[in-house]
């Protein structure tokens, strides 16, 4: 029986029907950060709390990764099976702008300002065949 394993602990709520990214928020200056950090990137305060980030936001910018990255890239792909993938920053309102893979890789279908939503999907498989889960954003329905 295979088990879904998150790519990193504490990155997003999992298992969950409606997973959310986990960020940290500074209690003195109210700045949010992703992923969670033990201190605030703006003021250096260690008084930070974990919070679930909004699951929807607007696309701030994007690109398409056209060639297979070298290590440390670690997917199930080979140079022959590699598929270009979208990358973007998504503005999560009231929180932070998060960098993410995008499920869309067609430049004609990506537009700055479009509404996006979070998904958690299988990114690769580990040596035992378990699905390794990671997050991405797709065009909101």
């Amino acid at each position: 029986m295979y088990k879904q394993i998150p790519i990193a602990e504490g990155l997003f709520t999992w298992p969950s029907e409606t997973p959310a990214l986990l960020g940290s928020r500074c209690r003195s200056c109210n700045i949010a950060e992703f992923p969670r950090k033990p201190s605030c990137p703006a003021c250096g305060s260690e008084d930070v709390v974990t919070e679930e980030l909004p699951r929807r936001g607007k696309l701030w910018t994007w690109t398409i990764q056209g060639f297979m990255p070298k290590k440390p890239y670690h997917s199930d792909e080979t140079p022959e099976t590699f598929t270009p993938f979208g990358v973007g920053y998504v503005e999560l309102p009231g929180a932070v702008c998060v960098e993410s893979r995008l499920l869309e890789n067609d430049p004609a279908k990506l537009k700055i300002g479009m509404e996006m939503e979070l998904v958690v999907e299988t990114f690769r498989h580990d040596d035992a065949g378990n699905p390794v889960m990671s997050f991405a954003f797709k065009a909101a329905e």
């Binding site: 990764q65 670690h74 932070v96 702008c97 998060v98 960098e99």
Partner: protein, 380 residues
């Protein structure tokens, strides 16, 4: 105490299979010593760095074991600029009269593969394919084009100019002009940037001899004065490479901060600059850096570049030696290559690529991961 550059040396950029990065640095060092009419034993200090070609201080094994203090500098793409600033301050302090700055490198083929751990980032970030400088530059120019109306054709024109200038530079790697449509139609690396709009990791070495300005004429009749040199790191809210998240509200980046600091220290402004070298790791970077360094307003680049004003004969000559696009990117050497080219231009020795207006003041700028910038202002 003012500071002058009295000797310059370069090893041609590109691929040199027979020489290590260190040997290319030593080659440049010998040329710089000869240019200043001094010997290695006359050097009172050395600052130098490389990212992938070993410790710069191992160069003493090539040049001679004289016992001088030699300090390795490592600061990403701002390594050369940081070494230069260290030397600048060492002489300004009155501690030393004369010394050397060097930067060299030798990288493997293909895109850089940065290690997330080195940057304080968790491993998942690299595993899912986000640890790519190319993506950052593409996403920065993508938003910039949307906000300020820069066209794809303008991105191609930046690369076309770089290769055209490189063709006039005997030390450049890419020495052939490339037609605009070939640049535009080359494979898309990271939308909107094509293959020929990106520089490639490469090899090369540069060395400079710096001394107290009051003794400069002992060594050369064409001293170039280092009016100012500034390095800045990012502040919270600037959009930077290798950032899993960034602030909702943007602030000016380290380039803007370093540029302002350098202009203020020199008592000069953008209108005083006759020739400039701006970090152009890809076409979009040159466009954005024009405004970030204060040489135009955001969005004005479109008209300036389309009118050819950034060419050697234009009113804002940028990257006269072909920049990173034609010279490649040996990380440790790039910042000093820009200073080398500026000295050549201010001396009036740039031959076919000489800016015709007898330039008096020059400007250099590098930007690198994870959000640092170094600027120098030079005057003859």
């Amino acid at each position: 105490m003012d500071v002058a550059i009295v000797g310059i040396g370069i090893h041609p950029f590109g691929r040199t299979p027979g020489l290590s990065g260190l040997q290319q640095g030593a080659y440049a060092a010998r040329l710089a010593l000869k240019d200043a009419g001094v010997e290695w034993k006359d050097m009172q200090f050395g600052f130098g760095g490389s990212a992938s070609a070993g410790s710069a201080d191992a160069m003493v094994n090539e040049l001679g074991l004289t016992g001088l203090p030699f300090i390795n500098v490592a600061n990403g793409c701002a390594t050369g600029g940081s070494a230069l600033i260290s030397a600048f301050n060492a002489i300004k302090s009155g501690e030393y009269d004369i010394g050397m700055v060097t930067g060299f490198d030798k990288h493997d083929r293909g895109a850089f593969n940065a290690d997330p751990k080195q940057m304080g980032i968790d491993e998942w970030y690299g595993e899912v394919g986000l640890m790519m400088t190319t993506q950052f530059f593409a996403m920065k120019i993508q938003r910039y084009m949307d906000t300020y109306g820069i066209s794809n054709n303008t991105l191609a024109k930046v690369a076309q100019k770089a290769f055209s200038n490189g063709a006039k530079n005997p030390n450049a790697w890419r020495r052939e002009e490339i037609p605009l449509e070939v640049i535009s139609q080359s494979p898309m690396i990271s939308h909107p940037l094509t293959k020929f709009m990106f520089c490639a990791p490469g090899e090369g070495g540069v060395a400079l001899i710096l001394c107290r300005a009051d003794i400069a004429r002992r060594y050369t009749d064409k001293p170039i004065y280092l009016k100012s040199a500034a390095v800045r790191s990012r502040r919270y809210g600037s959009f930077e490479v290798f950032a899993p998240s960034q602030a909702l509200q943007q602030v000016d980046g380290p380039t803007v901060d370093a540029s302002k600091a350098a202009f203020e220290a020199a008592g000069l402004g953008p209108q005083d600059i006759d020739v400039l070298q701006l970090q152009d790791t890809e076409s979009g970077a040159e466009v954005m850096h024009m405004a970030e360094n204060g040489f135009c307003e955001h969005g004005e680049q479109e008209a300036l570049i389309q009118a050819g004003e950034t060419g050697i004969d234009g009113k804002l000559p940028i990257n006269t030696d072909g920049g990173c696009l034609a010279n490649g990117e040996p990380i440790g050497a790039t910042g000093l290559r820009q200073v080398y080219e500026t000295c050549v231009q201010l001396r009036g020795e740039a031959g076919e690529r000489q800016v015709p207006s007898a330039p008096k003041v020059g400007y250099t700028h590098v930007y690198g991961a994870p959000g640092i910038s170094a600027v120098t202002i030079l005057q003859r």
